[in-house]
């Protein structure tokens, strides 16, 4: 893992948590959406908060795909877990939502849990398996020729 790759993980964390918070801020201002009127969800996309949230989530998706091209899914998701803390802080201090002590404890458990994962290797190398699979048909063809 290089510094640049850690930077990509940091971008994933920040854009995901800020993007979700912007979406929540926009949806709160719209009020509850009924299942009978799904078109309201399309209308929501054009509100400034939701649109800004979507832009941030596009940034998240680009950096997320980049990370998935050189690391495992089960590494990338927990490695960007600091987002839970940022999102809860934003919810409490910016959106003025009530966050109970047990929910805070839950966030601590989640962050501690996913912290375990980052201590292991970031990528499962399948090249050895692939080499065996690629060699097997060749071996079979050799046997037929003989």
């Amino acid at each position: 893992m290089t510094f640049r790759r850690y930077l990509v993980l940091a971008v994933i964390t920040l854009t995901a948590s800020c993007g979700d918070t912007f979406l929540a801020r926009g949806m709160k201002s719209m009020g509850p959406v009924s299942l009978a009127h799904p078109a309201e969800l399309i209308h929501a996309i054009f509100s400034p908060w939701v649109a800004s949230g979507i832009l941030l989530l596009i940034g998240f998706f680009a950096s997320y795909l980049t990370a998935l091209s050189w690391a495992d899914l089960t590494y990338v998701l927990p490695a960007s877990s600091l987002g839970y803390v940022i999102m809860t802080l934003l919810a409490r201090f910016w959106l003025q939502e009530r966050v109970s002590p047990l929910r805070w404890l839950g966030v601590v458990f989640i962050t501690a849990g996913v912290g375990f994962v980052t201590r292991g290797p970031s990528y499962t190398d399948h090249s050895a398996d692939r080499d065996v699979r690629e060699e097997a048909p060749e071996t079979a063809r050799e046997e037929v020729r003989q």
């Binding site: 949806m27 959406v33 969800l41 050189w70 999102m87 929910r103 404890l105 839950g106 966030v107 849990g113």
Partner: protein, 130 residues
């Protein structure tokens, strides 16, 4: 939130997000494995070449559709419940289902550290419901 109907509705909203997000994550991760290291592709073919390599992958397309379903489920849930409940609950549960799905579908090395993490996340999610 002690009303059984409210708890059932929250569980259904979180469930819809988790199932669609897991399918989307597994399919996009599988697509990125097929495509290869994007940093190297960008060095070789430029940003546009890297974008084409990703967009033209079939699994990526299906994965994006699943993630779009997850996104609209998330928007719907945010309009009914608090961000600090829906956000961590959905993403944390998705982490657990992703660990299981990655083990079986992507053949990732989900060792004892990753399983321990899954248990911790489950406890954390249970606490978030209170």
């Amino acid at each position: 939130m002690t009303d059984p109907h409210a708890i059932a509705a929250t569980a259904a909203m979180v469930g819809a997000i988790v199932v669609s997000a897991t399918a989307g994550d597994i399919l996009t991760a599988s697509a990125m494995r097929q495509v290869g290291d994007l940093d190297r592709i960008r060095e070789r073919s430029g940003l546009w070449g890297a974008a084409i390599a990703v967009i033209t992958n079939g699994r990526f397309g299906v994965g994006v559709i699943c993630l779009a379903l997850s996104f609209f489920s998330l928007l719907f849930a945010f309009s009914h419940r608090d961000l600090s409940l829906i956000g961590p609950a959905a993403t944390s549960l998705t982490f657990v289902t992703n660990a299981l799905a990655a083990r079986f579908f992507l053949k990732e090395n989900v060792d004892h550290r990753r399983w321990t993490a899954a248990i911790f996340v489950c406890i954390g999610v249970a606490l978030l419901a209170f």
